[in-house]
């Protein structure tokens, strides 16, 4: 796929939207305006957006507890997301899911997920649907380095590989699962190496570089669409905030975090590259920044002005149909 000016601006807008959304959430929680367990995606924007840039509504994403970025990259509206986080009836899930369960099937977003690794087989299932029903769709599972130690990862990859499903497995290796460094619990340095066990390609991308993710995801997605089966794409990345908002970060040094922010930031890298190549001028990017900022403010206003669900909602949608006497 060619990166036209429109596509580049769109990618930047999505990355900026993720960053601004997450920074706003950190602010809201710290100010006591928002409750719940929030796992922020800031720092990892290039991964979700680099993959999403190839996809449309017939393609699926399955996500994780750190799901806001995947939702935004896939085109889920921030108003509904914000209202969901505030537990309002106007939320993407009518306030019943919260941060770890934001989903929007109309956008091909199969949901954030509270269970580490659980999105992987869901994406495999969506790829099965695509294959059986010949939709032409591709299904992407995002998950962390930590999740690659779950049975659902291994079982899911094996299944997708033997069935040659149109799937892409994107492991976001940010060096930690909660407080535990990856090397304490994962014996291979590159998780991409695990692809070998399933006879599928394992590819490594710089998860802080939109262009690298875009290129490698593009190859994998083309393979999947062509019927050649799944790929495991490992994106080396870093989360800027703690595991969740409120994490004391006792397990990592300040210097480490500073290094990533200052030397590897995905948005800054994108700007350097697009300016250097003469693709986008900084004025255009600043205009996007301003639009995104007001979009996020609008989303907060919308959420805070929205009503909470009615009490009856408590018992609605447990089933499609169920009668007990």
């Amino acid at each position: 796929m060619e990166l036209t000016r429109e596509r580049l601006l769109d990618a930047y807008r999505r990355m900026r939207r993720i960053r601004a959304f997450e920074e706003k959430l950190a602010e809201l929680v710290t100010a006591g305006r928002l409750a719940g367990f929030l796992h922020l995606y800031a720092g990892e924007e290039a991964v979700a957006v680099g993959v999403a840039a190839h996809l449309g509504d017939r393609d699926h994403f399955a996500s994780t507890h750190r799901g806001h970025g995947h939702c935004i990259a896939k085109g889920v509206e921030v108003r509904g997301m914000m209202a969901e986080l505030f537990g309002r009836s106007t939320g993407t899930c009518k306030g019943k899911g919260g941060s770890m369960h934001i989903a929007d099937l109309s956008k091909g977003m199969l949901g954030a997920n509270g269970i580490v690794g659980a999105g992987i087989p869901l994406a495999v299932g969506a790829a099965l649907t695509a294959k059986v029903k010949r939709t032409g769709g591709v299904s992407v599972a995002f998950f962390g380095d930590g999740a690659s130690n779950q049975g659902q990862f291994h079982e899911g990859l094996n299944l997708a590989a033997v069935w040659k499903l149109p799937a892409l497995f994107v492991v976001e290796n940010n060096g930690y699962g909660e407080a535990t460094p990856t090397e304490f619990v994962t014996p291979v340095r590159d998780i991409a190496a695990r692809a070998g066990s399933y006879g599928i390609p394992g590819v490594i991308a710089d998860g802080m570089d939109f262009f690298d993710v875009f290129e490698k995801a593009g190859e994998a997605i083309a393979r999947a669409r062509a019927g050649d089966g799944p790929t495991l794409l490992e994106c080396k990345t870093y989360r800027y905030f703690g595991h969740y908002v409120g994490d004391n970060l006792a397990y990592r040094s300040k210097e480490e975090a500073e290094r990533w922010r200052q030397q590897r930031d995905a948005l800054e890298g994108f700007e350097r590259r697009t300016a250097g190549e003469g693709w986008l001028e900084s004025g255009a990017l600043r205009a996007v920044d301003a639009e995104v900022a007001s979009e996020i403010e609008d989303a907060v206003r919308f959420a805070e002005a929205s009503p909470f669900p009615e009490p009856a909602a408590l018992l609605q949608d447990v089933y499609v149909s169920y009668e007990e006497t």
């Binding site: 306030g95 919260g98 049975g151 909660e178 040094s253 408590l314």
Partner: protein, 336 residues
């Protein structure tokens, strides 16, 4: 001597006592050392568990006995069963009870059944510590009270303390017990305080506690709902109704005698549980009263539980989901 500790500190103290008194006790779980031992970064102790329950264990007992696991519940719970079968006494932390979903086989088909299937020629001295319950805006996959499910499995024991002293005493008893025990820590009271005896002390498994004496109605609670019951009892006292509060503490074995003895004193009983109503602890206690206490009942057994629904995220809905004092009072009043 007793002093005040948080529930989570009482658990931490029990773990220290258990590890110090028995070299076979090992602690496994995600972040139990919490990324401790990174001397390269000057980090020795980091989290000590997401709730802090395992703080200091890594420094005190070392990396051999305090192990940060991969996020592989099926693997490390299964390994703990194998280790228990062969001479260790593992204490496994399953961060939230909801995560048993990905690790059920080791508990359901292994830990619970090996002794029986092996003709009694095996022991599985395993303790599974896990956090339960709603009320923290953690939504449907981090808020369940699944102890009824484990209590329903023959071969497993299940306990759920309501206060720091019982947390310490029951945990030590669970670790030293030769059967597999699921130890539930209600997250809504993990950071509440209470007096806790110092040193080595146990609370026997299978024994309920009388949390408050009364004569008109029995309120049965488990974990957090004991506090709901106590508050309701106080409100009822103001209206001239004397309520007795039974803290089940142990769900399997269940102290049926204690429940029936209280029912004999009051003739009326309300069971309060955070879990949904079907096939759970409240239903179990109601069945016990119907089976063995029918003649003692002056009114039908009442249950105050969560609805038959997942736990909603929205604070507005979650507050309606969990049993409240108001609902207990309404149930008592309806009994006449």
């Amino acid at each position: 001597m007793a002093r005040e500790l948080l529930f989570v500190q009482a658990i931490n103290e029990a773990l220290h006592v258990a590890m110090a008194s028995d070299p076979d006790v090992v602690v496994l779980g995600e972040d139990v050392a919490g990324g401790g031992g990174r001397s390269d970064q000057g980090i020795e102790e980091a989290w000590g568990g997401v709730m802090g329950a395992t703080k200091g264990l890594y420094s005190a007992f070392g990396a051999e006995r305090v192990r940060d696991t991969p996020i592989s519940e099926m693997g490390f719970l299964g390994a703990a069963v194998g280790a228990a079968l062969t001479g260790l006494r593992p204490v496994v932390e399953i961060m939230f009870i909801d995560f048993l979903g990905v690790a059920f086989d080791p508990l359901l088909n292994q830990a619970a059944k090996l002794r029986y299937m092996f003709g009694g020629r095996a022991r599985v001295p395993l303790t599974v510590r896990t956090v339960t319950g709603a009320g923290l805006r953690a939504a449907a996959q981090h808020s369940q009270s699944l102890y009824g499910m484990t209590a329903a499995i023959p071969g497993l024991k299940t306990v759920c303390p309501s206060n720091p002293a019982d947390a310490k005493g029951l945990l030590l008893a669970a670790i030293r017990d030769d059967d597999p025990v699921v130890f539930c820590e209600p997250k809504s009271i993990l950071f509440s305080k209470g007096e806790v005896p110092e040193g080595d002390f146990t609370v026997p498994l299978g024994k309920a506690a009388l949390a408050r004496a009364g004569s008109d109605v029995t309120l049965v609670g488990v974990g957090r709902t004991v506090h709901v019951a106590l508050e309701a009892a106080q409100a009822l006292a103001a209206e001239g109704t004397s309520a007795e509060v039974v803290d089940l503490r142990s769900l399997s074995p269940l102290d049926g005698d204690a429940v029936l003895a209280s029912l004999a004193r009051t003739g009326r009983i309300v069971v309060i549980d955070e879990a949904p109503p079907r096939c759970g602890i409240a239903a179990d206690v109601a069945a016990l009263c119907a089976d063995r206490g029918f003649d003692l009942l002056d009114a039908p057994v009442r249950r105050v539980t969560a609805p038959h629904a997942p736990v909603p995220f929205s604070p507005a809905l979650e507050d309606l989901y969990v049993p409240t004092v108001a609902r207990v009072l309404a149930a008592v009043r309806e009994m006449g």
